[in-house]
Assembly symmetry: C2
Homo-oligomer: 138 residues x 2
């Protein structure tokens, strides 16, 4: 049905001591070390208004994922029943977009230091968005 | 810096009475009408485990966005100072990925009826993920 495709162009990359997907925590609140988002200098103007202490959503492209997978054992636990990928946070899915809620610790030009990012070193970053409160802060 | 690009392949499309971006609410909690997500039949196996009543995140490709924009007046309000797109939820940004938190009302094969989706009719859908609680429900 949906015939056309679109190209995503990374705006930067993750720099992290995490290098092995098997060793990385499955979610950022499960012990991820501090990491950096190193932006392409061409997009730095897009960070105006971001501040240390703010929570943001980081969108990544999970470049090592298997895009053909449609069902998995949640969290790789074979005792759990096979579930559709859209009902899980498994990296494997047709469009392997990762969503990470992190806190900005520091901003220095194109480099954002963040807490709570479980993506591995080198992961392409696609977008950053502010976390929305229930009301106005948009 | 990040030279390579990746292709996103829509898994479905939004079917909605909203057709004009200028008329659509800026967020789903601002009065979006019920809408449908019509999936490609090839990916329906990925929905196993989704249930009516569940909250999910819908990732879309905002195909009418301007990808060259790096700074905007938030919510199009010219009385607000120009802000980097990564500090706003503006659709215009280098990778115009939309994030929508919706509630599933019904599932019928490849068609999910949802509440709270403010995307316009025809918007490509890239991914669905469950909303995570603070703990286990993954």
């Amino acid at each position: 049905m949906p015939a056309e495709t679109y190209d995503v162009r990374p705006i930067g990359r993750v720099r992290s001591p995490l290098t092995d997907p098997a060793q990385a925590p499955k979610q950022g609140d499960e012990g991820a070390p501090p990491a950096e988002i190193v932006l392409d200098p061409a997009v730095v103007a897009g960070t105006a208004g971001l501040r240390p202490g703010a929570e943001i959503l980081v969108f990544t492209w999970l470049h090592q994922a298997d895009r053909e997978v449609l069902a998995v054992h949640p969290r790789g636990d074979r005792t759990r029943p096979v579930t559709g990928v859209f009902a899980t946070r498994a990296p494997h899915r047709p469009n392997p977009i990762g969503l990470h809620r992190v806190t900005i610790a520091d901003i220095a030009g194109p480099v954002l230091t963040v807490h709570g990012l479980e993506a591995i070193d080198g992961t392409p970053v696609l977008d950053l968005k502010p976390v929305l409160g229930p009301t106005a802060q948009r």
